[in-house]
Protein backbone atom coordinates (compact mmCIF):
# COMPACT_ATOMS: atom_id res chain seq x y z
CA UNK A 1 0.00 0.00 0.00
CA UNK A 2 1.35 3.34 -1.00
CA UNK A 3 1.70 5.69 1.97
CA UNK A 4 0.86 9.37 1.68
CA UNK A 5 3.54 11.86 2.62
CA UNK A 6 2.42 14.64 4.92
CA UNK A 7 2.14 17.96 3.13
CA UNK A 8 3.19 19.89 6.23
CA UNK A 9 6.25 17.79 6.70
CA UNK A 10 7.19 18.19 3.06
CA UNK A 11 6.58 21.94 3.27
CA UNK A 12 9.10 22.27 6.07
CA UNK A 13 11.65 20.33 4.06
CA UNK A 14 11.07 22.28 0.88
CA UNK A 15 11.25 25.56 2.78
CA UNK A 16 14.78 24.78 3.88
CA UNK A 17 15.89 24.64 0.26
CA UNK A 18 13.49 27.09 -1.36
CA UNK A 19 12.16 29.61 1.16
CA UNK A 20 9.17 31.68 0.00
CA UNK A 21 8.06 28.86 -2.29
CA UNK A 22 5.19 27.42 -0.21
CA UNK A 23 1.80 29.05 -0.27
CA UNK A 24 -0.10 26.63 1.94
CA UNK A 25 0.29 23.16 3.34
CA UNK A 26 -1.97 20.70 5.12
CA UNK A 27 -1.54 17.06 6.02
CA UNK A 28 -3.03 16.08 2.65
CA UNK A 29 -1.40 18.40 0.19
CA UNK A 30 1.19 21.03 -0.51
CA UNK A 31 0.48 24.26 -2.39
CA UNK A 32 3.47 25.87 -4.04
CA UNK A 33 3.75 29.21 -5.77
CA UNK A 34 3.71 29.06 -9.55
CA UNK A 35 7.14 30.60 -10.10
CA UNK A 36 8.88 28.02 -7.92
CA UNK A 37 6.86 25.00 -9.08
CA UNK A 38 9.59 23.62 -11.32
CA UNK A 39 12.25 23.90 -8.63
CA UNK A 40 10.09 22.19 -6.04
CA UNK A 41 9.01 19.49 -8.48
CA UNK A 42 12.60 18.77 -9.44
CA UNK A 43 13.56 18.64 -5.77
CA UNK A 44 10.75 16.13 -5.08
CA UNK A 45 11.76 14.00 -8.03
CA UNK A 46 15.50 13.94 -7.52
CA UNK A 47 16.05 13.92 -3.75
CA UNK A 48 17.27 10.51 -2.71
CA UNK A 49 14.83 9.81 0.11
CA UNK A 50 11.83 11.18 -1.87
CA UNK A 51 12.35 10.00 -5.48
CA UNK A 52 8.84 10.91 -6.61
CA UNK A 53 9.57 9.61 -10.08
CA UNK A 54 6.11 8.54 -11.20
CA UNK A 55 3.63 11.16 -12.39
CA UNK A 56 0.10 9.93 -11.63
CA UNK A 57 -1.90 12.77 -13.09
CA UNK A 58 -2.37 16.48 -13.40
CA UNK A 59 -5.79 18.06 -13.32
CA UNK A 60 -7.28 21.48 -12.76
CA UNK A 61 -10.10 22.89 -10.66
CA UNK A 62 -12.01 26.13 -11.14
CA UNK A 63 -12.69 27.87 -7.81
CA UNK A 64 -14.20 30.98 -9.45
CA UNK A 65 -11.62 33.38 -7.99
CA UNK A 66 -8.64 31.25 -9.00
CA UNK A 67 -7.64 28.06 -10.77
CA UNK A 68 -5.92 25.27 -8.96
CA UNK A 69 -3.68 22.80 -10.79
CA UNK A 70 -3.31 19.51 -8.94
CA UNK A 71 -0.47 17.03 -9.40
CA UNK A 72 -0.16 13.65 -7.82
CA UNK A 73 3.29 12.12 -7.62
CA UNK A 74 4.33 8.66 -6.52
CA UNK A 75 7.68 7.11 -5.81
CA UNK A 76 8.27 3.70 -7.34
CA UNK A 77 11.36 3.41 -5.13
CA UNK A 78 9.93 4.26 -1.70
CA UNK A 79 6.25 3.56 -2.42
CA UNK A 80 4.92 6.85 -1.14
CA UNK A 81 3.00 9.63 -2.80
CA UNK A 82 2.11 13.29 -2.43
CA UNK A 83 -0.42 15.74 -3.82
CA UNK A 84 1.12 18.92 -5.10
CA UNK A 85 -0.94 21.97 -6.00
CA UNK A 86 -0.38 25.34 -7.49
CA UNK A 87 -2.76 28.24 -7.95
CA UNK A 88 -3.14 30.86 -10.64
CA UNK A 89 -5.09 33.91 -9.56
CA UNK A 90 -5.01 35.69 -12.89
CA UNK A 91 -8.27 34.46 -14.39
CA UNK A 92 -7.89 36.23 -17.71
CA UNK A 93 -4.46 34.87 -18.48
CA UNK A 94 -3.77 31.88 -16.21
CA UNK A 95 -0.35 30.34 -16.61
CA UNK A 96 1.64 27.60 -14.89
CA UNK A 97 5.09 26.24 -15.72
CA UNK A 98 4.98 22.95 -17.62
CA UNK A 99 6.45 19.85 -15.97
CA UNK A 100 6.84 17.91 -19.24
CA UNK A 101 10.60 18.40 -18.94
CA UNK A 102 10.47 16.42 -15.68
CA UNK A 103 7.75 13.86 -16.43
CA UNK A 104 6.87 13.03 -20.05
CA UNK A 105 3.50 11.73 -18.92
CA UNK A 106 2.29 15.26 -18.32
CA UNK A 107 2.29 16.05 -22.04
CA UNK A 108 -1.22 15.08 -23.09
CA UNK A 109 -2.78 15.90 -19.72
CA UNK A 110 -1.46 19.44 -19.79
CA UNK A 111 -2.81 19.79 -23.31
CA UNK A 112 -6.21 18.59 -22.11
CA UNK A 113 -6.23 21.16 -19.31
CA UNK A 114 -5.17 23.86 -21.75
CA UNK A 115 -7.96 22.81 -24.07
CA UNK A 116 -10.81 22.56 -21.59
CA UNK A 117 -9.76 24.95 -18.81
CA UNK A 118 -7.65 27.44 -20.70
CA UNK A 119 -4.57 27.35 -18.49
CA UNK A 120 -1.32 27.96 -20.35
CA UNK A 121 1.60 25.68 -19.50
CA UNK A 122 4.75 27.68 -20.11
CA UNK A 123 7.49 25.61 -21.67
CA UNK A 124 5.19 22.89 -23.01
CA UNK A 125 6.63 21.51 -26.29
CA UNK A 126 3.31 21.26 -28.15
CA UNK A 127 0.64 23.28 -26.41
CA UNK A 128 -2.44 23.12 -28.63
CA UNK A 129 -6.01 21.94 -28.33
CA UNK A 130 -6.45 18.19 -27.78
CA UNK A 131 -10.16 17.26 -27.73
CA UNK A 132 -11.70 20.30 -29.34
CA UNK A 133 -10.83 21.68 -32.72
CA UNK A 134 -8.75 24.70 -33.68
CA UNK A 135 -11.03 27.70 -33.72
CA UNK A 136 -13.30 26.60 -30.88
CA UNK A 137 -14.27 29.60 -28.80
CA UNK A 138 -13.79 29.43 -25.04
CA UNK A 139 -12.82 26.70 -22.58
CA UNK A 140 -15.86 24.60 -21.68
CA UNK A 141 -14.82 23.22 -18.29
CA UNK A 142 -14.60 26.69 -16.80
CA UNK A 143 -17.43 27.46 -14.42
CA UNK A 144 -18.38 30.61 -16.32
CA UNK A 145 -18.56 28.84 -19.70
CA UNK A 146 -22.01 28.91 -21.24
CA UNK A 147 -22.58 27.37 -24.64
Amino acid sequence: MTSALSGEHMASRVKEKYPESIEESTSEYLVVKGDSLLNVARYLRDTDDLKLDFFNYVTAVDYYSYFEVVYQLTSTVHNHSIVLKTRCHDRDNPSVPSVVSLWQGADLQEREIFDLMGIRFEGHPNLKRLFLWEGFQGHPLRKDYLS
Binding site: F131, L132, W133, F136, G138, P140, Y145, S147
Partner: protein
Protein backbone atom coordinates in the same frame (compact mmCIF):
# COMPACT_ATOMS: atom_id res chain seq x y z
CA UNK B 1 -75.96 -66.60 -78.84
CA UNK B 2 -78.70 -65.89 -76.38
CA UNK B 3 -77.88 -66.61 -72.82
CA UNK B 4 -80.94 -67.53 -70.85
CA UNK B 5 -81.52 -65.90 -67.53
CA UNK B 6 -84.37 -65.62 -65.12
CA UNK B 7 -83.57 -61.95 -64.36
CA UNK B 8 -84.86 -59.11 -66.45
CA UNK B 9 -82.32 -56.74 -67.87
CA UNK B 10 -82.81 -53.45 -69.63
CA UNK B 11 -80.30 -54.52 -72.23
CA UNK B 12 -79.73 -58.04 -73.28
CA UNK B 13 -76.24 -59.37 -73.21
CA UNK B 14 -76.14 -59.38 -77.00
CA UNK B 15 -77.14 -55.74 -77.14
CA UNK B 16 -74.33 -54.82 -74.77
CA UNK B 17 -71.86 -56.76 -76.83
CA UNK B 18 -72.98 -55.03 -79.97
CA UNK B 19 -72.72 -51.67 -78.29
CA UNK B 20 -69.27 -52.48 -77.13
CA UNK B 21 -68.32 -53.53 -80.66
CA UNK B 22 -69.73 -50.31 -82.05
CA UNK B 23 -67.67 -48.21 -79.57
CA UNK B 24 -64.55 -50.10 -80.46
CA UNK B 25 -65.16 -49.79 -84.19
CA UNK B 26 -65.85 -46.07 -83.82
CA UNK B 27 -62.70 -45.49 -81.80
CA UNK B 28 -60.67 -47.50 -84.22
CA UNK B 29 -62.06 -45.53 -87.15
CA UNK B 30 -61.26 -42.24 -85.47
CA UNK B 31 -57.82 -43.27 -84.25
CA UNK B 32 -56.03 -43.85 -87.54
CA UNK B 33 -54.09 -40.58 -87.31
CA UNK B 34 -51.11 -40.39 -84.88
CA UNK B 35 -51.71 -37.85 -82.17
CA UNK B 36 -48.93 -35.28 -81.86
CA UNK B 37 -46.87 -35.47 -78.64
CA UNK B 38 -48.27 -32.96 -76.21
CA UNK B 39 -45.62 -30.33 -75.27
CA UNK B 40 -47.73 -28.66 -72.71
CA UNK B 41 -45.47 -30.17 -70.07
CA UNK B 42 -42.68 -28.09 -71.55
CA UNK B 43 -44.64 -24.90 -71.05
CA UNK B 44 -45.45 -25.99 -67.59
CA UNK B 45 -41.79 -26.46 -66.82
CA UNK B 46 -41.03 -22.98 -68.04
CA UNK B 47 -43.86 -21.59 -65.96
CA UNK B 48 -42.48 -23.35 -62.94
CA UNK B 49 -39.07 -21.65 -63.36
CA UNK B 50 -40.04 -18.24 -64.53
CA UNK B 51 -41.62 -15.37 -62.69
CA UNK B 52 -42.88 -12.32 -64.42
CA UNK B 53 -42.39 -9.19 -62.33
CA UNK B 54 -41.10 -5.67 -62.60
CA UNK B 55 -37.48 -4.70 -62.69
CA UNK B 56 -38.09 -2.48 -59.67
CA UNK B 57 -39.27 -5.41 -57.59
CA UNK B 58 -36.30 -7.57 -58.53
CA UNK B 59 -33.70 -4.88 -57.99
CA UNK B 60 -35.22 -3.80 -54.69
CA UNK B 61 -35.44 -7.40 -53.57
CA UNK B 62 -31.75 -7.85 -54.29
CA UNK B 63 -30.83 -4.60 -52.58
CA UNK B 64 -32.78 -5.15 -49.40
CA UNK B 65 -31.88 -8.81 -49.01
CA UNK B 66 -28.15 -8.29 -48.68
CA UNK B 67 -27.26 -5.02 -47.08
CA UNK B 68 -23.68 -4.62 -45.94
CA UNK B 69 -23.00 -2.34 -43.04
CA UNK B 70 -20.25 0.25 -42.88
CA UNK B 71 -18.56 0.51 -39.51
CA UNK B 72 -19.62 3.68 -37.73
CA UNK B 73 -19.70 2.88 -34.04
CA UNK B 74 -18.53 5.90 -32.07
CA UNK B 75 -20.05 4.90 -28.72
CA UNK B 76 -21.94 2.43 -26.58
CA UNK B 77 -24.81 1.57 -28.97
CA UNK B 78 -22.20 -0.47 -30.80
CA UNK B 79 -22.48 -3.13 -28.11
CA UNK B 80 -26.17 -3.56 -28.78
CA UNK B 81 -25.31 -3.83 -32.45
CA UNK B 82 -22.71 -6.46 -31.66
CA UNK B 83 -25.33 -8.35 -29.64
CA UNK B 84 -27.77 -8.08 -32.53
CA UNK B 85 -25.13 -9.41 -34.85
CA UNK B 86 -24.16 -12.27 -32.60
CA UNK B 87 -25.62 -15.76 -32.39
CA UNK B 88 -28.45 -14.89 -30.02
CA UNK B 89 -30.24 -12.35 -32.17
CA UNK B 90 -28.58 -13.38 -35.42
CA UNK B 91 -28.81 -10.49 -37.81
CA UNK B 92 -27.68 -12.77 -40.62
CA UNK B 93 -31.25 -13.98 -40.92
CA UNK B 94 -31.85 -10.75 -42.78
CA UNK B 95 -28.78 -11.00 -44.96
CA UNK B 96 -26.89 -8.23 -43.28
CA UNK B 97 -24.44 -9.66 -40.83
CA UNK B 98 -21.41 -8.62 -42.85
CA UNK B 99 -19.56 -5.60 -41.52
CA UNK B 100 -17.45 -3.80 -44.03
CA UNK B 101 -14.23 -2.21 -42.91
CA UNK B 102 -14.23 -0.30 -46.16
CA UNK B 103 -17.17 2.02 -46.77
CA UNK B 104 -16.71 1.42 -50.50
CA UNK B 105 -18.16 -2.07 -50.05
CA UNK B 106 -21.07 -1.00 -47.88
CA UNK B 107 -24.52 0.32 -48.60
CA UNK B 108 -25.90 0.73 -45.09
CA UNK B 109 -24.57 2.86 -42.27
CA UNK B 110 -25.83 2.07 -38.78
CA UNK B 111 -24.77 5.07 -36.72
CA UNK B 112 -24.44 3.51 -33.30
CA UNK B 113 -23.34 6.20 -30.89
CA UNK B 114 -22.74 9.78 -29.86
CA UNK B 115 -21.08 11.88 -32.51
CA UNK B 116 -18.81 14.77 -31.58
CA UNK B 117 -18.12 17.63 -33.90
CA UNK B 118 -14.50 16.62 -34.02
CA UNK B 119 -15.48 13.20 -35.38
CA UNK B 120 -18.23 14.53 -37.65
CA UNK B 121 -16.06 15.26 -40.73
CA UNK B 122 -14.77 11.68 -40.66
CA UNK B 123 -18.26 10.19 -40.47
CA UNK B 124 -19.37 12.42 -43.30
CA UNK B 125 -16.38 11.29 -45.30
CA UNK B 126 -17.21 7.62 -44.68
CA UNK B 127 -20.74 8.32 -45.84
CA UNK B 128 -19.51 10.06 -48.97
CA UNK B 129 -17.24 7.13 -49.74
CA UNK B 130 -20.13 4.66 -49.73
CA UNK B 131 -21.40 3.90 -53.24
CA UNK B 132 -24.98 4.60 -54.23
CA UNK B 133 -27.52 3.40 -53.36
CA UNK B 134 -26.94 3.89 -49.64
CA UNK B 135 -29.05 4.13 -46.53
CA UNK B 136 -28.56 5.30 -42.97
CA UNK B 137 -30.15 4.01 -39.77
CA UNK B 138 -29.83 6.40 -36.83
CA UNK B 139 -29.52 4.07 -33.85
CA UNK B 140 -30.23 5.38 -30.35
CA UNK B 141 -31.03 8.72 -28.78
CA UNK B 142 -27.64 10.25 -29.50
CA UNK B 143 -27.85 9.45 -33.18
CA UNK B 144 -31.40 10.78 -33.41
CA UNK B 145 -31.02 14.05 -31.52
CA UNK B 146 -27.80 14.07 -29.52
CA UNK B 147 -29.63 12.44 -26.62
CA UNK B 148 -28.61 13.57 -23.16
CA UNK B 149 -25.55 15.27 -24.67
CA UNK B 150 -27.65 17.42 -26.96
CA UNK B 151 -26.78 20.70 -25.25
CA UNK B 152 -23.10 19.85 -24.95
CA UNK B 153 -20.47 22.03 -26.58
CA UNK B 154 -18.94 19.16 -28.50
CA UNK B 155 -21.80 16.87 -29.58
CA UNK B 156 -23.60 16.89 -32.92
CA UNK B 157 -27.35 17.14 -32.14
CA UNK B 158 -28.41 14.30 -34.41
CA UNK B 159 -26.76 12.65 -37.40
CA UNK B 160 -29.30 14.25 -39.67
CA UNK B 161 -27.36 17.47 -39.24
CA UNK B 162 -24.61 16.03 -41.43
CA UNK B 163 -26.04 13.07 -43.39
CA UNK B 164 -29.56 12.08 -44.51
CA UNK B 165 -31.17 9.46 -42.25
CA UNK B 166 -33.69 6.87 -43.47
CA UNK B 167 -34.80 5.13 -40.29
CA UNK B 168 -34.66 6.26 -36.66
CA UNK B 169 -34.42 3.59 -33.95
CA UNK B 170 -35.08 5.15 -30.53
CA UNK B 171 -33.68 3.84 -27.26
CA UNK B 172 -30.70 4.45 -25.03
CA UNK B 173 -29.46 2.11 -26.29
CA UNK B 174 -32.12 0.32 -28.37
CA UNK B 175 -32.40 -3.38 -27.72
CA UNK B 176 -31.30 -5.69 -30.54
CA UNK B 177 -34.95 -6.45 -31.26
CA UNK B 178 -35.50 -2.75 -31.78
CA UNK B 179 -32.58 -2.51 -34.16
CA UNK B 180 -33.78 -5.55 -36.08
CA UNK B 181 -37.24 -4.02 -36.33
CA UNK B 182 -35.68 -0.83 -37.65
CA UNK B 183 -33.78 -2.81 -40.24
CA UNK B 184 -36.99 -4.49 -41.31
CA UNK B 185 -38.60 -1.07 -41.64
CA UNK B 186 -35.71 -0.02 -43.85
CA UNK B 187 -36.17 -3.13 -45.97
CA UNK B 188 -39.83 -2.26 -46.44
CA UNK B 189 -38.81 1.24 -47.39
CA UNK B 190 -36.33 -0.05 -49.95
CA UNK B 191 -38.91 -2.38 -51.46
CA UNK B 192 -41.09 0.62 -52.19
CA UNK B 193 -38.31 2.58 -53.85
CA UNK B 194 -38.18 3.20 -57.55
CA UNK B 195 -35.00 1.42 -58.62
CA UNK B 196 -35.32 1.83 -62.37
CA UNK B 197 -35.07 5.42 -63.48
CA UNK B 198 -37.99 6.89 -65.34
CA UNK B 199 -36.80 7.19 -68.93
CA UNK B 200 -39.24 9.94 -69.78
CA UNK B 201 -38.09 11.94 -66.81
CA UNK B 202 -34.45 11.51 -67.85
CA UNK B 203 -35.24 12.52 -71.42
CA UNK B 204 -37.12 15.62 -70.33
CA UNK B 205 -34.29 16.50 -67.96
CA UNK B 206 -31.78 16.08 -70.77
CA UNK B 207 -33.68 18.43 -73.06
CA UNK B 208 -34.26 21.04 -70.40
CA UNK B 209 -30.59 21.29 -69.50
Amino acid sequence: MEVSSDREYIYTSTELDRHEGQVIEELKANSQETIADPDAWLDEEIKRNMLLTTADAVINWARRSSMWTAICFPACCAFEFIAAEGPRFDLSRFGMEILRASPRQADLMITAGTLTWKMAPNVRRIYNQMPEPKWVIAMGSCAISGGIFRSSYSVVPGYNKIIPVDVYVPGCPPRPEGLIYGIQMLQKKISKARAVPDLQQIMSKGTSE
